[in-house]
């Protein structure tokens, strides 16, 4: 295959990626967009087997190794993607992003070893960039995975002199990067990779649980840029186009997400430099809460005219989507006006809750976005908050200085009655106490969301 044909097919794959991103931006074309992207990627992968790079011949050297490695990747990747619970999907995306960053860093290292003294200064600079950013993306993504999987604390991890340690690590990454460019050796490059991995860990540790999606999106954009930089070193137009597209669209997406959560991007990333360890307000002191029985809840619902259901991650964990739909259908049959109030970041990521409710066949028309539902809480008799906490916490509006201050919330405190279905008094993902739980018009129903809802459904049937 000639270089021209090879490049033309690469261009076609690049166009497929543009169409894929375009399609993914609209609900109707999203699935087709993803398939177009997959087609482009498959085409690009296939064609590389039929083009011999300068200095090599067909079939490719090490063909057995290449195919074997791809097979291993398939055997790991496909079942993981197919079997993952939808509730755990955000951490899987984080992990996929991390391995992509790791792959880019490895590619850069191999190419560096291969070029040896033939590498131009530009090649070395791009290699240094890829190794740094790819390693940061890899180790940072692993930390976001651990946070989302709750294998480690979801609270910001802030250690003494943290900001100096982070700044010093970053400075040494840059210095060693310069060392690689001037000294040209394997050792400096490996030191650089190690320091960059460390920096990725330190960079993500101080980020609070609620901000993790923004960081995943940012690391995703980072990985895109490393792919573009590898494209320069490997002389591949396709990699430059694909990597740059992801880098640019990922940056915009990160900003959009931060806006949807009412966070400044700067504050999210550098919050650790200014944040003080939070004083645990009200800890130790037992405050009275009003807890009710499923029957109390059923009676309250039976005489309501308008009910808004606010689903949160707890609902998804309890797999209570189907039971909540049953309850909603029953209330609608009784002539009660029912809507689901969906916070943009309900769940673990923007749009995550829509995916989860769609899985339970909740009609699309009943899902109301935050801007639609907020003005209606004044006329709402009962707001049922199921396994959500941070997204209804009035502290976001009233206490400057708390980690979620400024995040738009669902204003359930405007409703006449509030019912919280909770497993315990444990604070939400962001680790902040919710004053609303102590409000006199709040009733708490403790227990697993699914079994609580089942009891409410049967109590409502009996009425």
């Amino acid at each position: 295959m000639s270089r021209t044909v090879y490049d033309l097919i690469g261009l076609a794959a690049g166009v497929a990626f543009i169409l894929a991103l375009k399609g993914l931006s609209h609900p109707k074309t999203a699935r087709r967009g993803n398939l177009i992207g997959a087609f482009g990627a498959a085409l690009a992968t296939l064609v590389v087997f039929f083009y011999a790079n300068p200095g090599s011949s067909l079939p490719l050297n090490n063909l057995g190794w290449i195919l074997g490695a791809m097979l291993i990747g398939l055997v790991i990747g496909v079942p993981a993607a197919r079997k993952v619970q939808m509730t755990q999907m955000p951490q899987l995306v984080a992990l996929f992003n991390g391995v992509g960053g790791g792959a880019a860093a490895l590619v850069a290292i191999v190419e560096y070893l291969h070029l040896g003294t033939e590498a131009t200064t530009a090649d070395v600079i791009f290699t240094v960039f890829t190794v740094i950013v790819g390693c940061v993306s890899f180790s940072g993504s692993i930390i976001t995975f651990l946070k989302l999987q709750e294998l480690m604390t979801t609270r910001p991890v802030i250690f003494p002199a943290g900001r100096f340690i982070i700044a010093a690590t970053l400075a040494s990454v840059i210095v060693v990067g310069g060392w690689v460019v001037t000294a040209l050796g394997t050792t400096p490059l490996l030191v650089l990779a190690g320091l960059s991995l460390l920096f990725g860990v330190l960079f993500v540790l101080p980020v609070g649980g609620a901000d993790v999606p923004i960081v995943i999106s940012l690391l995703n954009a980072f990985t895109g840029l490393t792919v573009a930089a590898s494209g320069y070193v490997l002389d591949s137009v396709l990699l430059i186009i694909a990597g740059t597209l992801v880098g640019a669209s990922g940056t915009i997406l990160t900003r959009l997400m931060a806006e949807a959560m009412g966070r400044s991007l700067f504050g999210t990333l550098f919050g650790a430099f200014t944040a003080k360890p939070q004083e645990a307000s009200g800890s130790g002191e037992e405050r009275p809460v009003r807890s009710g029985s499923p029957d109390d809840v059923a009676i309250l619902l039976n005489y309501a005219r308008r009910v808004v259901i606010v689903p949160g991650f707890g609902l998804a964990v309890a797999q209570a989507q189907h039971t909540v739909r049953e309850l909603a259908d029953m209330m609608i049959a009784k002539g009660i006006d029912v809507a689901y109030g969906i916070h943009p970041v309900a769940g673990r990521m923007p749009g995550h809750m829509n995916v989860l409710l769609a899985e339970a066949n909740v009609p699309y028309e009943q899902l109301a976005e935050m801007d639609e539902v907020n003005p209606t809480f004044g006329q709402t008799d009962v707001a049922i908050v199921i396994g959500a906490n941070d997204v209804v916490n009035p502290a976001a509006q009233t206490s400057p200085g708390c980690p979620i201050y400024g995040m738009p919330i669902l204003e359930v405190n405007q409703a006449a009655n509030i019912i919280f279905l909770k497993r315990s008094m444990r604070p939400g993902f962001a680790g902040i106490e919710n004053e609303l739980l102590y409000d006199p018009k709040t009733m708490l129903l403790f227990g697993d969301a699914k079994s609580s809802l089942t009891k409410v459904v049967s109590a409502l049937k009996a009425l």
Binding site: L21, H26, I72, G73, G77, F96, A103, S236, I252
Partner: protein
Amino acid sequence: MEPIAIVSIFVLAVFVGFEVVSKVSSTLHTPLMSGANAIHGVILVGAIIVADHSSTDLELGLSVAAIILATINMVGGFVVTDRMLEMFKGNKK
């Protein structure tokens, strides 16, 4: 390739990237992120190229690791995005 050609491609791709996702509802943020994530799995192409010209065991070992990771990124990414979007389709009937 000429540096100026590379810079041109880069700058134009940045603007295309900005443009295609500038208006997207928050509902689609997660699938879009996941789809973009799958696209950078195309680093697999780079991993195959370096595996082809690996001349030492170290180079080959690292390339094989890169191919495994890149394949997971690409294939897993597209499959999980499709699963998410499949559910969106279901509730439009």
